[in-house]
C-alpha cells in the first residue's frame, strides 16, 4: 500500500512552521502540517473572559507541553546522572496549534548585527585569546543585510509596534540608537509607556544611557496584515505571556497566519499528531517523509514527502534529528559531530524595585511586548576589553502585567513575612508600588554544554528523552553581575525605597525550579562549516539536504534579545531560498 504523498511536511504549528507553510503554499506546494498538541483558535478557547483564567492559564499551564508524555532530562555537568524535568518551571515549551507563538509575550526584536558575527567581532576587537577556553564562539554565516528584508517582512505580518531610529540611512525617530538601519518603519506606532517604563526612561536618560521603546508584536492599533488577517488593539490587560490574547492584539500564528492558510486548499493541518521520526532512505542523505503517532488513536501513520521542514520547538527539533539519524551526534569528549552542539540559553535575572507609597505603578496593568529598554550594555555596544567577558544584556522595564495569583505568591519580596498582616501589606505594596527591572542577557556556548539522547529515560512513546547538560559558566555570571550593577544607580534615581537586586553568583549551578526564560537555543546551529554546524546558512541540514530545520536551534549563541523576531526572519530567509533556488533544483544550497 502506497503512503500518502505531499510536496512538503511541516513539523510543528508554531511561528516557524506557519511561516514556512504560508511560503510553500504560495509557491504552489501541497503542505501538511503536523502538530503534536491540540487545535487552538481565538474564537473558541481564546475568547474573553475564559481565556484569562489565571488558574487554568499560567498556573495549570493550559498552553504548555504535557510533560507526562514527553520531556527532557537535565543535569548540570557531564559527571552527573540526568533526571527528567517533571514540572514546568525554568522554561515553558508550548504545545498545540500556535506553539510558543501563542503563549509568548510579544517582544519582537530584530538582531544586533554584531551578534550574527560575534566570533569575528570579538576577534577583531580583542584578539583570539580573549575567547575563554572551552567557549564555542561562532558566527551565524549570515549578516544583518542578508536578513533585513525578512525582518521587515515579518514585522508587517506580526503587526509590530515600535519606534524606529534609522530608516534608509536617515534618523527618523527616538528609537534605539544602537539598532541597525531599517528599510521601512514599523507597521504600527509605538506602544505607550506604562508609568513604570516612563520613569525608567527618564532615569536611564539622565544617567547618560539611550532608552527606547521595546518593539512589540502587540498591536497599538487595529491592523490588517499582509495576509488580510486582522488584529485588535492592545488594551494593556496584562494577559500576554501564558495566554491566547482575546483581543487579537498579540501576534500569534493563530491570529496572523493560520486564518489565511486555513483557506488554502493546498494546506492541511493535522493536530494531535506526534512526529516520531523523519524517515530517511538507506543512504541517510535523503528524507522520504515522516512517521507520526495520532495521540488520540495511538495509530502510527507514515507520510511521504519531497521536503521536510522541522519547525518544532528548539529542543524538539534537535531531538527529532537525533532519533531520526539526521547528521552526526555531537560528542563533547572528541569534540566532533554537530547535532546537540552549542546548546545555549539566556542569562536573565529579574530585580524588583519598590517606590514610595505615593507613586503608583499598578502592576496589574501591562502589555507583554511593551516597555522601555537600554542597549548600552548589550552585544558589542560597550568595551568588553577591561571587563574580560563576552556578551551583554539589554536592561528593561517590561511591565507585562502581574496577575492576582502570581502577585499573591510573589508577595513582598526580600525578607517580608509569608503570612499575616505584614504579608498582606507587603503584597499590596508590591502590587501597587513596585516595578521589575530585568537584565536579559546573552549566554555563550561551551564545549561541555550540549544536548544528546538520554541513555536511560524514555518518553510515553518509547523513544529516548533528550538530555540537557547545562550550567552557568564564569563568563556569563560575570557579565550578568556587571550589568546588574548598572541597574542600582538607575533604580535609586527612580526613587527606590527598597531594592531586590538579583544576579548570578560564581559557581551557582543552573536551577530548574525557578522560571528564568523559555528562550532556549542552539543544538542544531547554522554556520559556514559542516564540522561545527548542523545546518548551513539557509538552515538546511548539511547531511540530509531535503530537511530544513527552522528555529532558535540555529542560534550559535544565546543573544540578549528575545529570539522570536530572529526566528521569524530566519524562517522567511530560508523560505525565500527554498522558493527561489531549492525548488528549482533540489539539493544542497551550499556545497559541504
Amino acid at each position: 500500500m502506497g503512503k500518502k504523498h505531499v510536496d512538503a511536511i511541516i513539523v510543528g504549528a508554531g511561528w516557524a512552521g506557519a511561516i514556512l507553510a504560508k511560503e510553500l503554499t504560495e509557491a504552489g506546494l501541497s503542505v501538511v502540517m503536523l502538530e503534536r498538541g491540540a487545535e487552538r483558535t481565538t474564537q473558541i478557547e481564546g475568547a474573553y473572559p475564559d481565556s484569562i483564567d489565571e488558574l487554568r492559564g499560567a498556573v495549570r499551564k493550559r498552553l504548555f507541553q504535557n510533560l507526562s508524555q514527553s520531556t527532557v532530562t537535565i543535569r548540570n555537568t557531564m559527571d552527573q546522572t540526568a533526571l527528567p524535568y517533571r514540572q514546568l518551571s525554568a522554561f515553558l515549551p508550548g504545545e498545540g496549534v500556535g506553539g510558543a507563538g501563542l503563549h509568548w509575550s510579544g517582544v519582537h526584536f530584530r538582531v544586533a548585527p554584531e551578534d550574527l558575527r560575534l566570533r569575528s567581532s570579538v576577534v577583531e576587537r580583542y584578539g583570539e585569546k580573549f575567547i575563554p577556553e572551552g567557549m564555542n564562539l561562532q558566527d551565524y554565516g549570515v549578516t544583518y543585510e542578508d536578513l533585513e528584508p525578512f525582518f521587515d517582512k515579518a514585522e508587517k505580518v506580526f503587526g509590530t509596534s515600535g519606534e524606529a531610529y534609522k530608516v534608509q540611512g536617515k534618523i527618523v525617530g527616538n528609537g534605539n540608537v544602537f539598532s541597525p538601519d531599517r528599510s521601512s518603519d514599523f507597521p504600527l506606532p509605538v506602544m505607550k509607556d506604562t508609568f513604570s517604563a516612563s520613569i525608567f526612561r527618564d532615569a536611564a536618560k539622565n544617567a547618560g544611557y539611550h532608552p527606547y521603546a521595546l518593539p512589540a508584536a502587540n498591536a497599538s492599533r487595529q491592523y490588517t496584515n499582509t495576509y488580510g488577517c486582522q488584529m485588535g488593539p492592545c488594551n494593556f490587560c496584562g494577559y500576554c505571556s501564558g495566554y491566547d490574547c482575546y483581543l487579537y492584539s498579540k501576534a500569534s500564528p493563530n491570529v496572523n497566519i493560520l486564518p489565511a492558510l486555513r483557506q488554502d486548499p493546498r494546506f492541511s493541518l493535522i493536530p494531535n499528531a506526534h512526529v516520531l521520526r523523519v524517515d530517511l532512505d538507506s543512504t541517510k542523505t535523503k528524507a522520504t517523509g515522516v512517521t507520526y503517532l495520532d495521540t488520540k488513536t495511538r495509530k502510527e501513520t507514515s507520510l511521504s514527502a519531497d521536503l521536510v521542514i522541522l519547525g518544532a520547538f528548539q529542543f524538539n527539533n534537535v531531538h527529532l534529528m537525533l532519533v531520526s539519524g539526521i547528521g552526526k551526534p555531537y560528542d563533547p569528549v572528541s569534540n566532533t559531530g554537530t547535532v546537540g552542539r552549542n546548546f545555549v540559553y539566556q542569562t536573565i535575572t529579574s530585580s524588583r524595585v519598590w517606590l514610595p507609597s505615593s507613586t503608583y505603578t499598578n502592576q496589574f496593568v501591562g502589555a507583554g511586548g511593551a516597555g522601555v529598554a537600554i542597549d548600552d550594555f548589550n552585544s558589542m555596544n560597550f568595551d568588553h576589553g577591561p571587563l574580560g567577558f563576552v556578551g551583554g544584556s539589554p536592561v528593561w522595564v517590561n511591565q507585562a502585567g502581574m496577575k492576582p495569583i502570581a502577585a499573591a505568591t510573589g508577595a513582598g519580596g526580600g525578607g517580608t513575612p509569608r503570612w499575616g498582616s505584614a504579608y498582606k501589606d507587603a503584597l499590596i505594596n508590591t502590587y501597587k508600588h513596585s516595578l521589575g527591572i530585568d537584565a536579559h542577557g546573552s549566554n555563550m556556548a561551551y564545549r561541555d554544554v550540549y544536548l544528546d539522547l538520554d541513555p536511560t529515560w524514555k518518553d510515553a512513546y518509547g523513544q529516548p528523552l533528550l538530555r540537557m547538560t547545562f550550567t552557568w559558566k564564569d563568563n556569563d555570571i560575570r557579565m550578568n553581575q556587571y550589568v546588574v550593577s548598572k541597574i542600582e544607580p538607575v533604580a535609586r534615581a527612580m526613587g527606590a525605597t527598597k531594592m531586590n537586586l538579583v544576579h548570578l553568583n560564581p559557581g551557582q549551578p543552573f536551577d530548574t525550579r525557578k522560571y528564568q526564560t523559555t528562550h532556549l537555543g542552539g543544538g542544531a546551529i547554522m554556520g559556514e562549516n559542516p564540522q561545527t554546524s548542523a545546518l548551513n546558512r539557509y538552515l538546511q541540514s548539511w547531511d540530509v539536504s531535503n530537511v530544513f530545520v527552522i528555529g532558535s536551534n540555529a542560534f550559535p549563541q544565546g543573544m540578549g534579545y528575545n529570539p522570536t523576531g530572529m526566528v521569524a526572519a530566519l524562517a522567511y530567509w530560508a523560505a525565500h531560498h527554498i522558493r527561489t533556488t531549492y525548488l528549482k533544483s533540489p539539493g544542497p544550497l551550499v556545497q559541504a
Binding site: A38, Q43, P49, G232
Partner: protein
C-alpha cells in the same frame, strides 16, 4: 461587464466549434453557480456536515416544523427529474413538479423576477455543477389538516406575482443600469425582502419591490431570534449613515467600519454575498442607498460624549455602566466607537437603536462569531454572556448601550430579557466544533 467569462467565450468563438460549445456550457454553469450564491440557496438547502444542497435544515413555523428539500440532481431524492420548465416554475411560481404548491419559506415571490436566461443558468448548474446526494431530509412535522397543501395554492395565487408581471416591474423601473442591476439582485435572487420587509398577518411580504412603497425593506419580524433591521435610509435605525462602501464591505467581508454581521445574516454573507463581484455589490449598495427612509421622523444621530466623559472620570453611576466597563469596553471601548472592522462600534450602530431590542439582547446572551470570509480570513468572536450575567445585568447593560453616546433608545426590563431567554439562539460558536482540551 456582468459576465466577463461569458463575453470572453463569445469573443473567442473562432476556436473549434466543440471547444466553443464546451466553453459556453462552462460559462453558463459558472453563471449558474454565481446566481446560486447570489440567491443564497445554500443558506436553506446546505446543512452543515451534509452534502451541499442536500437539504435538511429545519424551519420552525407557527404550524410546525418543515425541512428544506434536497435540490441536488439526484433523481430519487433531489430534483433530477425536473425539466428546465418545471425547475423554472418551482423557483418563480412556487409550483412543484407534481403541481402542488411549495411552502412560501421558499422565496418564490422574489425569485419570480429571475430572467429566463438566469433560470437557464441555474438549471444547468443544479443539473451539472452539483453532485447528486442520495439522501432525503426528515419528514415535515406539520400535522393534518395543516399539512394539506392545497390552501397554499390560494395563498400563492393571491400573493405571489407571476413572472410575467414581476420581471418588467423590477427591471423596467430604472433607467440607470447600475440601479436596475441592484434592484434586480435585491428584489430578485438575493430576496432581501424575505427577511427585511414586514409581513402581513397572512404572511405575505407587504411590499415586494421598491415601487410597492416604503414598507419594502423597512425591517422585518424576528427570524430565528434576530430582528432584521430596515435597509432603507432611516438615519438611526436604517442605513442612512452607511456609505455605499460600508455596505459593499459588509456584504463582501461581513465587516465594515459601521458594523459587523451577526445572527441569521452571517450565513447570507458567508454563502452568498461574499461571492458576488464588486460591481454587483456596488449595484446592490447603490440601489439600497436610493431607498428613502420609511420613517421620516427620526432625529439624526449625533455623537454625545456625556457618558464617555463620565466613564473617563470613573463615574459609573448610570445604570449598567459598570457591567459595560467590565465586560464590553475592552473591545467596544468606553467611547462606544469600537475598533472599526475588527470590533464594531456601538455608538450610532442602527442595531442598538432598533425599537425592538431583541437582536441586541440575544447577541449579548448568545454571542456571535464572525466567520472567516475569502476576503477577510480572520474569525472574530464575541463571547456569550448568558451564563456570566444575570437577566438583570443583561437588561442593565443593554439599557446602557441603548442610552449612551447619543443612541437614546428605550430602556430594557429584566422581564424582557427573561422572556427572550426562551427565543435565545444557541450560543454562537465557530462553525467547526473544536476540542477545548
Amino acid at each position: 461587464m456582468k459576465w466577463p467569462l461569458l463575453a470572453v467565450c463569445i469573443l473567442g468563438s473562432s476556436l473549434a466549434g466543440n471547444a466553443v460549445a464546451q466553453d459556453a456550457d462552462n460559462a453558463t454553469l459558472e453563471k449558474g453557480r454565481y446566481l446560486a450564491a447570489a440567491s443564497d440557496c445554500a443558506a436553506c438547502h446546505s446543512a452543515h456536515g451534509k452534502p451541499e444542497y442536500s437539504g435538511g435544515i429545519s424551519f420552525s413555523l407557527p404550524m410546525g416544523k418543515i425541512y428544506s428539500t434536497n435540490i441536488t440532481p439526484d433523481a430519487d431524492h433531489g430534483i433530477g427529474h425536473y425539466t428546465e420548465a418545471q425547475f423554472g416554475r418551482a423557483l418563480r411560481e412556487g409550483v412543484r413538479r407534481d403541481g402542488s404548491t411549495l411552502y412560501p419559506a421558499m422565496p418564490f415571490p422574489s425569485y419570480a423576477r429571475l430572467t429566463d436566461s438566469d433560470i437557464h443558468a441555474l438549471f444547468v448548474y443544479f443539473r451539472k455543477g452539483v453532485k447528486p446526494a442520495p439522501i432525503s431530509p426528515p419528514k415535515n412535522g406539520i400535522v393534518w389538516p395543516l399539512s394539506i397543501r392545497w390552501p397554499l395554492t390560494f395563498w400563492r395565487l393571491a400573493f405571489a406575482p407571476t413572472p410575467t408581471k414581476a420581471i418588467p416591474k423590477t427591471s423596467g423601473e430604472f433607467t440607470d443600469p447600475e440601479l436596475a442591476r441592484g434592484a434586480y439582485l435585491v428584489e430578485g435572487p438575493a430576496h432581501c425582502g424575505a427577511c427585511h420587509s414586514p409581513r402581513a398577518i397572512t404572511m405575505q411580504e407587504k411590499a415586494l419591490t421598491a415601487t410597492d412603497g416604503s414598507l419594502y425593506l423597512a425591517g422585518g419580524a424576528m427570524v430565528d431570534g434576530w430582528t432584521p433591521p430596515s435597509l432603507r435610509q432611516e438615519n438611526r435605525t436604517g442605513l442612512g449613515r452607511w456609505s455605499e462602501d460600508d455596505i459593499v464591505s459588509f456584504l463582501k467581508t461581513g465587516r465594515a467600519a459601521t458594523g459587523s454581521v451577526f445572527g441569521s445574516m452571517t450565513s447570507a454573507v458567508l454563502h452568498g454575498t461574499q461571492k458576488l463581484t464588486d460591481d454587483d455589490l456596488h449595484a446592490i449598495a447603490h440601489y439600497l442607498k436610493s431607498l428613502k427612509a420609511a420613517d421620516q421622523t427620526q432625529k439624526p444621530w449625533t455623537y454625545d460624549s456625556t457618558i464617555t466623559d463620565q466613564l473617563h472620570k470613573a463615574d459609573l453611576s448610570y445604570r449598567g455602566a459598570r457591567i459595560y466597563v467590565d465586560r464590553c469596553a475592552a473591545c467596544h471601548r468606553t467611547d462606544g466607537k469600537g475598533y472599526p472592522s475588527v470590533f464594531p462600534p456601538l455608538a450610532g450602530n442602527p442595531v442598538m437603536m432598533q425599537d425592538d431590542p431583541v437582536s441586541l439582547i440575544h447577541i449579548t446572551q448568545s454571542g456571535a462569531t464572525l466567520p472567516p470570509m475569502t476576503a477577510a480570513p480572520s474569525s472574530i468572536v464575541m463571547p456569550a454572556f448568558k451564563h456570566k450575567l444575570t437577566d438583570e445585568q443583561i437588561a442593565d447593560v443593554v439599557t446602557f448601550i441603548r442610552h449612551a453616546w447619543g443612541n437614546n433608545a428605550s430602556p430594557v426590563s429584566t422581564e424582557d430579557v427573561k422572556r427572550l431567554s426562551k427565543s435565545m439562539p444557541p450560543p454562537d460558536m465557530a462553525d467547526d466544533a473544536l476540542s477545548l482540551n
